[in-house]
Assembly symmetry: C2
């Protein structure tokens, strides 16, 4: 039998999943931040990752619709504003398009999502469906990869600026607000999960939800690696970089 | 503007998608039927493909629930019987487990689906969700990869029997009834699609549905290739063959 953990035990178990499964451990991430990718490979990453960015407010809207109080909905609504903007200052999606344009992609191609990998689409859609269909507790828990994102963002930004002459601080402006937003978000989600996972079974569901979300991120990098690093197996209809070797 | 095609034109357009995107063209399939895989790699294929087999009657049940007449439901119900069996003679899922056991896998591991690749799970779930959430016409059209399956089955069975000493005709008995069932199924689905795709827009939706389904099959082989062929990047928690090099 699995026993009920106290709050610290639950948090430690969540962090242990990150230490084993977060996509900072994926070879594609290392290549990206070590400057080992071509411009075309960085384009493929930006193009595919756009679909993830684009669906984040969709999954948050599904979650918002299921929260029972104004207080909780106000907290979660901020996430959607972070991504969609307020109509004057750009949100995360718009800043991601700027990143994609900064690495040389056409805005219309990015927004169409026509050229992304099927593996990207299926992984991201799996996340949206998970948040829509599972318990509210699992849906909140699946956001907890943000516990680990400040580290990956810091590595990514410093690595990419140091290694790629086609990348400027302006291009990477997507990430700056995320260094403040992500900890806010994960503080809230972690407190929520600690408060509501009050049985051993619920705690295991929370851990499974975080494992699932790590898989969602990992699978996206798997797809990029296979198509654009090695063996270079680009599926029919997907983006072909101009500098593909 | 896209114009309305006649029945032959629509069928030709569907077959052209197969010629370009069906997973018979994927390098993993070629390795499999040419006898170039180790026993462990064949195990990984059988283990992952089980999840697809297992979810086929689930997606067919979603479709069944949306069919408006007894006549149509009787036709589609046969597919579920083909996979689930009738309690006396084994259905497709049970025959697939036999295949998996035949290549040396433990039945409980296979049935648990715990060790499959996230990429497999996301692709297969995408198919189930597509059939549940899209129009009935698109759902039926997404089954049309069966137009192309007799060729891939014939290649697979003859190639695997010729090249792998650990595979017997009995192990591959899954495929024998499929050579009769798949053409029955696709004849019906093709006639349905021809009858109901009566606008250019619906015809394009039908073509997109088939492209989507080809992506579902392709992505599964992408995942297997990356994890078990090259570069051999097995995600955390997934099946590790005993003969992994």
């Amino acid at each position: 039998m699995t026993e009920l953990m106290d709050d610290d035990g639950l948090e430690a178990a969540l962090r242990a999943i990150g230490a084993e499964r977060y996509h900072i451990l994926h070879p594609f991430h290392r290549l990206l931040h070590d400057g080992k990718l071509t411009r075309g490979q960085v384009q493929a990453w930006a193009l595919n990752r756009y679909y993830y960015q684009n669906q984040i407010p969709v999954k948050d809207a599904h979650l918002l619709a299921r929260l029972p109080t104004s207080e909780l909905r106000r907290e979660w609504r901020r996430r959607i504003e972070d991504h969609d903007g307020d109509g004057s200052k750009p949100g995360g999606i718009e800043r991601w398009i700027k990143l994609a344009e900064g690495v040389g992609l056409d805005r219309a191609l990015v927004e169409s999502t026509d050229a992304i990998l099927p593996t990207t689409r299926f992984a991201v859609d799996a996340y949206v469906h998970f948040v829509r269909d599972r318990t509210l507790l699992e849906a909140v828990a699946s956001s907890l990869t943000e516990l680990f994102s400040p580290t990956i963002i810091a590595e990514r930004v410093s690595g990419m600026l140091a290694h790629y002459d086609f990348i400027t601080p302006d291009t990477l402006s997507y990430f700056t607000p995320r260094l403040i937003q992500a900890p806010q978000d994960s503080d809230f989600a972690l407190a929520y999960v600690k408060a509501h996972a009050d049985t051993a079974e619920k705690q295991q569901a929370v851990l499974s939800a975080l494992r699932f979300k790590c898989d969602v991120l990992w699978s996206q990098l798997d797809g990029l690696y296979l198509a654009y690093v090695a063996p270079g197996l680009i599926p029919p209809g997907a983006f072909v970089p101009q500098d593909v070797r």
